[in-house]
């Protein structure tokens, strides 16, 4: 113990002269810029997908309805309510948030003597609502994938000269990877017209349990082969993943399931229908709506006969959609399963000609009208009457049927920007390629590229295949040479499509006029139903709504024995028709059960 040792410790007394290092006002001290403090939620961006709730290991988050937030497609109307008696501020909810709406402020003081007060819905009126600082996840989501597994496709060069299917389907690895991205929020289910249990069958893909997946598919949709390929997949627009990345490829995953279950196994998995009830139903039209209703009714033990005017069943699925999008054998497999349920399909049987409406009414407990939209609409522009101008649906039907008289000129112009326009454009392009070795096709649409009605892939693939896609062109006249031969289409640039009231009233810039060369002009601007089969008496009796048969929400027409479904009464797409078919079948079953159908 030297003197030095004794004295050394005292040297630290020098610190008594230093000013205290205490924080003068700790109550208003800001936490750091990225502090994980109390939650914020952008109510408008939030879609109420509940992924935050799913990842919270504390069970701190409840999804609750909030005033002012409506339930609509792609938004459940629910918002997270956080229990600060549970939260641990790990910010996993922020990291996983599908829209990036959930963030954290750097606020951290919450003192209350009421223990029940610590629950709140961020985004309503918390004091730190407008604080900028706080935790935000760095550079995009890290916890679930943002990019879609690419779909294998034939290259443009490989596909342009044939009608082979473009998409090759996912491999198992790709499918698992894609299914893995799904967060199982279920927002898509409401958007899907048939309300397919999408998250569940995606989970089945993830688990590699295709049998379960197929059973789930058939619960809501007997056209999985078809929908797995050409569904308009509105579900993918309300996919939670779409907000910060690619939507889950729901359609491709559906197709992947059916790709992995052989046909025989499907019938086995679905099981036999219920025992026969002795009831019978006639369905007019073997399109998606009619066949779905047929499938449902057959499963319930009803004897179903489907009358189809064309030589093969499938309706627009067969005669409207080109083979490169939906190969016929895929469609045949779906129909085979339906037939295996005991459905009789009478093809080439035209109602009104081969069999009368009244007979059907007499011999069946109910009749479902599912005739679809078979007739194309015309543009009624000068020169559109006469040879050299065709309607898309007619052409497509003829191409499918293998009609050798289908005109294939070296150059052609398509009017329209919907899926049908692209179908005919790309079909025609293939035919041109086969015939002339090159594509000479122009597609003109009223809409600009960003607002095309067709799927985005159609545009991309159309471009790839050499179709000249011109947007914002309004057709004015089909040009004909003196001999009456079509030479092209004259168009003006479109300045707006709708007027101030939102009515269809295209306005043009007349100075921007173009003439598109083409020996054939194809109109693809819409379809309508051919209701002539009803006969005058029935047509007179039925109530109509702007050219369509009027139905209630349960698919009943004004006649108690007649039900209607499909494109003819609703919009044109397969999945809506399927949904209608289900609904019609259900209504028919109820009606039969209640004895409502009076013969």
């Amino acid at each position: 113990m030297s003197l030095r040792e004794v004295l050394t410790p005292f040297s630290v007394w020098k610190r008594v002269l230093d000013a205290p290092v205490s924080i003068a006002d700790p109550f208003s001290r800001e936490a750091s810029e990225h502090y994980r403090g109390f939650h914020k939620n952008d109510m408008e961006t939030c879609i109420g997908c509940g992924t935050c709730e799913a990842i919270c290991q504390n069970g701190a988050i409840d999804m609750v309805p909030v005033e002012g937030q409506n339930t609509e497609k792609g938004d459940s109307g629910l918002r997270p309510m956080i229990d600060y008696g549970r939260c641990c501020w790990c910010a996993l909810c922020v990291d996983i948030c599908m829209t990036g709406s959930l963030t954290m402020s750097n606020e951290y003081t919450w003192v209350d003597s009421d223990p029940d007060a610590f629950r709140f819905i961020p985004g309503l009126n918390e004091p730190w609502k407008d604080k900028q600082a706080g935790y935000k996840r760095e550079n995009g989501r890290v916890l679930s994938g943002t990019t879609r597994s690419p779909m294998g496709e034939l290259h443009a060069n490989e596909r342009i000269d044939n009608f082979n299917e473009i998409c090759v389907g996912y491999t198992r690895e790709e499918a698992i990877l894609e299914a893995d991205r799904c967060v199982e929020c279920g927002l898509c289910v409401a958007t899907c017209p048939a309300h397919m249990s999408i998250p569940d069958y995606i989970a089945a893909v993830r688990d590699q349990d295709y049998d379960r997946g197929l059973q789930l598919l058939y619960e809501t949709n007997p056209f999985s082969e078809v929908c797995g390929r050409i569904c308009t997949h509105k579900c993918e627009t309300s996919c939670a993943a779409v907000h910060e990345g690619d939507a889950i490829a729901i359609r491709w995953l559906k197709r992947h399931i059916v790709d992995n279950v052989p046909l025989e196994r499907r019938v086995e998995l679905i099981g036999a229908p219920k025992p026969a009830t002795g009831k019978s139903v006639a369905i007019i039209g073997a399109g998606p709506g009619g066949l779905t209703a047929a499938y449902d009714l057959a499963r319930e033990g009803v004897k179903v006969t489907v009358y189809e005017a064309l030589p093969k069943p499938g309706g627009m699925m067969r005669y409207g959609i080109p083979e490169y999008r939906l190969p016929y054998d895929a469609l045949d497999r779906d129909i085979a399963v339906i037939e295996a349920m005991g459905v009789t399909i009478k093809c080439a049987t035209v109602v009104g000609v081969d069999v009368q409406m009244e007979d059907l009414r007499q011999s069946h407990d109910a009749v479902i009208l599912a005739i679809g939209l078979q007739m194309g609409r015309g543009t009624r522009i000068p020169g559109s009457e006469g040879a050299g101008v065709e309607r898309a649906v007619d052409l497509l039907r003829r191409i499918t049927a293998g009609d050798p008289t289908v005109p294939v000129p070296e150059t052609a112009v398509v009017i329209g920007g919907g899926n049908v326009a692209f179908d005919i454009a790309r079909s025609m392009a293939r035919l041109q390629k086969i015939k002339y070795g090159r594509v000479g096709l122009t597609l003109t649409a009223l809409e600009d590229r960003a607002h095309f009605l067709a799927d985005k892939e159609e545009l991309v693939e159309g471009d790839e295949e050499g179709v000249l896609i011109l947007d914002s062109r309004g057709p004015q006249e089909v040009m004909r040479d003196p001999s009456g031969q079509v030479t092209g289409l004259r168009t003006w640039a479109v300045t707006s499509i709708f007027d101030a009231e939102g009515r269809f009233a295209p306005a043009y810039d007349e100075s921007d006029e173009q003439i598109h060369q083409g020996a054939l002009v194809i109109e693809a601007i819409g379809q309508m139903a051919d209701t002539s089969l009803l006969g005058d008496a029935l047509t007179e009796k039925l109530e109509w709504n702007r050219g369509r048969i009027k139905i209630d929400s349960e698919m009943r027409t004004s006649e108690p024995w007649l039900f209607a479904a499909g494109d003819a009464v609703k919009g044109p797409d397969v999945i809506n028709a399927v949904a209608d078919g289900h609904r019609a079948a259900r209504t028919v079953m109820e009606a039969i059960a209640q004895g409502e159908v009076v013969q």
Binding site: E53, A54, G85, C87, T109, W110, V111, P115, F118
Partner: protein, 229 residues
């Protein structure tokens, strides 16, 4: 909350009791033979008295002012929150300047901070410590786990609602709450005390039976050395 399973296994009563939890006969120092049931006998059931306020409101107000400015915290770190107490006792936050001090014995403390989750074993000690403190005494629940279980909501060994077992005056949300939040809590507590609203001591005495019932429902073994806190 998707997780909650309504069809869980009921607690299995057939698991044999541990030796020391079984009833047994012991001989007391004065030669008496008594039967002890450890699961029942070791808790104190003498209800504390309800102490009235001072007769004159002005005196009570003065007392409350003094109480609010002299918060003596029991230095008992029951959970993780204890780690944020040290910054409070030290230069950075220096709670001493707000009249907050730490005492090592419950007898002298008047503020019990439950710093986070309470395991059943600690709950027993916390109750003992609380009962040893002299009124008026206050309890602050620090951290989310005192409010509704926090991240240990599904643990078999931690309680979820502190207010079932002790009268809590104030909760501070956070996991864990920052020292600043804790300081803020002190300020709020001072306001409560000054307003005469921090009467947890009497609340505990008045509802002693229900507090004890809740405590007994989770603490099975009450055996504890006499002087252990």
């Amino acid at each position: 909350m998707k997780d909650i399973d309504e069809t869980f296994r009921k607690i299995d009563a057939t698991v044999p009791l541990r030796e020391e939890l079984r009833p047994r006969t012991v001989t007391t120092p004065d030669g008496q033979e008594i039967t002890i049931e450890p699961l029942k006998d070791y808790f104190c059931e003498a209800a504390p008295k309800v102490h009235p306020k001072a007769y004159f409101q002005i005196v009570e107000n003065f007392y409350n002012w003094a109480r609010s400015n002299s918060l003596w915290i029991l230095g008992f770190g029951t959970g993780c929150g204890a780690i944020e107490m040290r910054p409070l006792m030290t230069p950075r936050f220096d709670a001493y300047r707000y009249g907050v001090q730490w005492r090592p014995t419950p007898r002298q403390a008047n503020l019990l901070i439950i710093s986070g989750y309470l395991s059943v074993k600690t709950l027993k000690r916390a109750i003992r410590a609380y009962e040893q403190m002299q009124g008026p005494k206050y309890v602050i629940g620090l951290g989310s786990c005192t409010i509704n279980g926090g991240m240990y909501w599904d643990s078999y060994n931690t309680i979820k609602r502190l207010d079932d077992y002790l009268p809590v005056d104030l909760y501070i949300a956070g996991c864990m709450p920052r020292p600043e939040a804790l300081l803020h809590g002190f300020i709020e507590l001072k306001k409560l005390i000054r307003a005469g609203k921090a009467e947890g001591t009497n609340r505990y005495a008045e509802n002693f039976a229900s507090y004890k019932a809740a405590q007994k429902s989770v603490i099975k073994d009450w055996d504890m050395p006499d002087y252990n806190w």
